[in-house]
């Protein structure tokens, strides 16, 4: 495969990458899709149009994958470690040692869940510390848990958890939530949710599993302990773009800078989805950007041939 020249290599098979692949394969571009591992997904998406009652991130992914079965493209489960440009050809280097070549590349790298970075978080992951309420909520039936964060995901999951747990402490570092109004209203009306703001977690404690957390009120600076069996952390995402440093323009957090056409600072290299620098990270944006990236990649490839 190393001698083969693809029209397009798409790195990442989340919503952005899969949508780009859908558009590219329908444009009959010789397309290769790369994904290093299982694709993360949010528990429940209530704001993706066309799915009354909501859909889980994994189900949405499965549906796009199914839709792609009608078209021709290649898929490899491999990790990309480097991207080089040799004149107009892009070389995609894999951790397996393989080097793949393409006329254009779309980076749909996604982002990983941000960690709190407090003592106890790593040790107790899977023993009370969780990043997925649907997966792990049922293990906390009748117990008290803390949810950390103030965005849509945090509030959505706090509400979801009340189906199983006795009580949710919703802890957020600011006094106001970023989440959409309807979720804020649902949280405030829910008698099982107690809001603790503006506060930050300082430590997660326990013997062999989570037993309590230490938090500090940012206004009074007062420290308190809270007995909880679980800590569910939803504080956003961070990029995994370290390997691209110096090659593409990025913002100070490491998200890739693109223009409205999803072009990066290098010709023929496009980026879309959660890995690009922007204010709002929504699945619908990721899909829309994937489409735009693929259409612009197609135009770029056609112009190369002129």
């Amino acid at each position: 495969m190393s001698e083969e020249l693809f029209d397009l290599i798409i790195v990442g098979a989340g919503p952005a990458g899969l949508t780009a692949c859908l558009y590219a394969s329908r444009s009959l571009l010789k397309t290769l899709l790369l994904e290093k591992g299982p694709i993360g997904g949010q528990d429940l998406i209530e704001n993706y149009p066309g799915f009354p009652g909501g859909i889980s991130g994994y189900e949405l992914i499965e549906r796009i994958q199914k839709q792609l079965e009608d078209y021709e493209y290649q898929f490899l489960q491999e990790e990309v470690i480097d991207l080089q440009e040799v004149e107009e050809v892009k070389e995609v280097h894999l951790s397996s040692g393989k080097v793949l070549k393409a006329k254009a590349v779309i980076l749909a790298l996604g982002a990983k869940l941000r960690k709190l970075g407090v003592p106890g978080e790593r040790e107790f992951t899977g023993r009370g510390v969780s990043y997925c309420a649907i997966c792990d909520g049922p293990f906390f039936k009748g117990e008290e848990v803390a949810v950390i964060g103030g965005g849509n995901t945090a509030l959505q999951e706090a509400i979801y958890l009340t189906k199983y747990v006795k009580k949710v402490y919703l802890i957020h570092r600011r006094e106001t939530f970023r989440a959409t109004s309807i979720l804020q209203e649902r949280v405030k009306k829910n008698p099982q949710i107690e809001i603790i703001v503006p506060s930050v977690i300082e430590e997660i404690k326990g013997s062999d599993k989570v037993e309590k957390i230490v938090y500090r009120n940012l206004k009074s600076n007062e420290k308190r302990e809270l007995e909880v069996a679980g800590v569910f952390i939803f504080i956003g995402h961070e990029p995994e773009t370290g390997w691209l440093k110096g090659k593409l323009e990025m913002d100070e957090s490491g998200f890739i800078i693109v223009d409205r056409e999803m072009r990066t600072s290098r010709p023929g290299i496009f980026a879309c989805g959660d890995c690009v620098s922007k204010k709002f990270r929504q699945i619908i944006n990721a899909c829309g950007e994937g489409a735009v990236a693929a259409l612009n990649a197609e135009e770029y490839i056609k112009n190369l041939e002129k």
């Binding site: 591992g37 997904g41 994994y58 023993r127 009370g128 969780s130 049922p138 293990f139």
Partner: protein, 107 residues
């Protein structure tokens, strides 16, 4: 062939008394990440056939075993050797991570 199914009832016989190491995938139908790694688990079952036994335990139908091993998140993958848990991996990790863990246990 894919991964085999184990239950609370046959866990002792199929996992703890197994002469070769056993990878147990604790999963449930309502867990998206579990579904995401299921194909990888089946691939490992084929690739390590004869060297490592790869099993799946549904935590919904079998609450005793996950309770015994303190499982509070799924997917959790535990590698057992001579009846003892020797490696625990939490979450939907890449195939490479699982391959490394298995090779470490195989020595």
């Amino acid at each position: 062939m894919g991964a085999c199914k184990v239950t609370d009832q046959d866990f002792e016989k199929e996992v703890l008394q197994s002469p070769i190491p056993v990878l147990v995938d604790f999963w449930a139908a309502w867990c998206g990440p579990c579904r995401a790694i299921a194909p990888v688990i089946d691939e490992l079952a084929e690739e390590y056939a004869g060297r490592v036994k790869v099993c799946k335990l549904n935590v919904d139908e079998n609450p005793l075993t996950p309770g015994k091993y303190g499982i509070r998140a799924i997917p959790t993958l535990i590698i057992f050797k001579n009846g003892q848990p020797v490696e625990t991996i939490v979450g939907a990790v890449s195939k490479a991570t699982l391959v490394n863990a298995l090779n470490k246990v195989l020595g």
